[in-house]
Subunit: 137 residues, 2 copies
DNA sequence: TTCCTTGCAAAACTTTTGCATTAAA
DNA sequence: TTTAATGCAAAAGTTTTGCAAGGAA
């Protein structure tokens, strides 16, 4: 039976990423469960568990992870990026008060029709965000 | 027959906004047609046509216009906001290379089904962005 | 040795804020 | 004259970059 850490080592290698110390620390936190974290939240988690990872390295590697398909970067906020450990196609609820995200499975949404892309272009992805506020009653 | 400028004066007043010089200059550029502009693009347009509007005033007023429903602020980019002069419900295409936005009318999209919001929450809005890239063939 | 990775601090970019000045009612 | 709006420059929040130092192959 392989040690716990080996799981992440393998996942990084499988995506063509050298498993360095910092990258493993980042993966251990971010990939532990399906979640959405901002860089700042992730940095706080890392520091809290004693991992020494600089801000520059964190950003560089989040970008790398996203490029290699290990995580997904969500741009749906004015200011910051969210990093999503769920790379399966899916959509999101967003609580407008807190900014918190919840997954919406593809099975929960069905399009009856969608417009065709303009000539010479193709659809790279569809982002659907259902913004939520507290009910008024 | 009223002068051209009167149109924007009236629109501002109709939204409870005092029509000051700067606000009229901003409205004249942004509301001239259905378009999507970033604050920086708008500032450049204003300066180019000789309007003196400071950055702070521009941002303050874009925020105000959005609050009062005169324009819509789009948060679909990592870093900057887009200001949309079309306040009718609609969706967007986004060219991933240039960031440019194109409207998608509500009639062009139909949902067969959507998930129910969690208890105590209601849907405040649905943002749909169809990301585009050049076709590969 | 050679190449890749890291860390720090500074820079970059967008947006907001404090406050004195100016314009508008 | 009283309130509201503006402009400037500085601050704030997030992300990127330059470069020297450290680590892996």
């Amino acid at each position: 039976m392989p040690g716990q850490g080996a799981v992440y080592t393998e996942r990084l290698l499988a995506h063509g990423i050298q498993p360095t110390q910092q990258r493993l620390r980042i993966a251990e936190v971010l990939l532990a469960s399906a979640q959405h974290l901002t860089a700042e939240q992730l940095l706080a988690s890392l520091r809290q568990r004693g991992a020494r990872v600089s801000k520059a390295t964190l950003y560089n590697n989040l970008k790398l992870f996203a490029e290699r398909g290990l995580i997904r970067e969500l741009l749906l906020d004015g200011s910051r990026s969210w990093f999503d450990s769920n790379v399966q196609p899916h959509y999101h609820f967003q609580d407008l008060e807190t900014g918190a995200l919840t997954d919406v499975g593809v099975a929960e949404v069905a399009f009856e029709h969608l417009p065709s892309p303009p000539p010479g272009m193709e659809v790279a992805g569809i982002d659907l965000v259902i913004r939520l506020r507290p009910s008024r009653r």
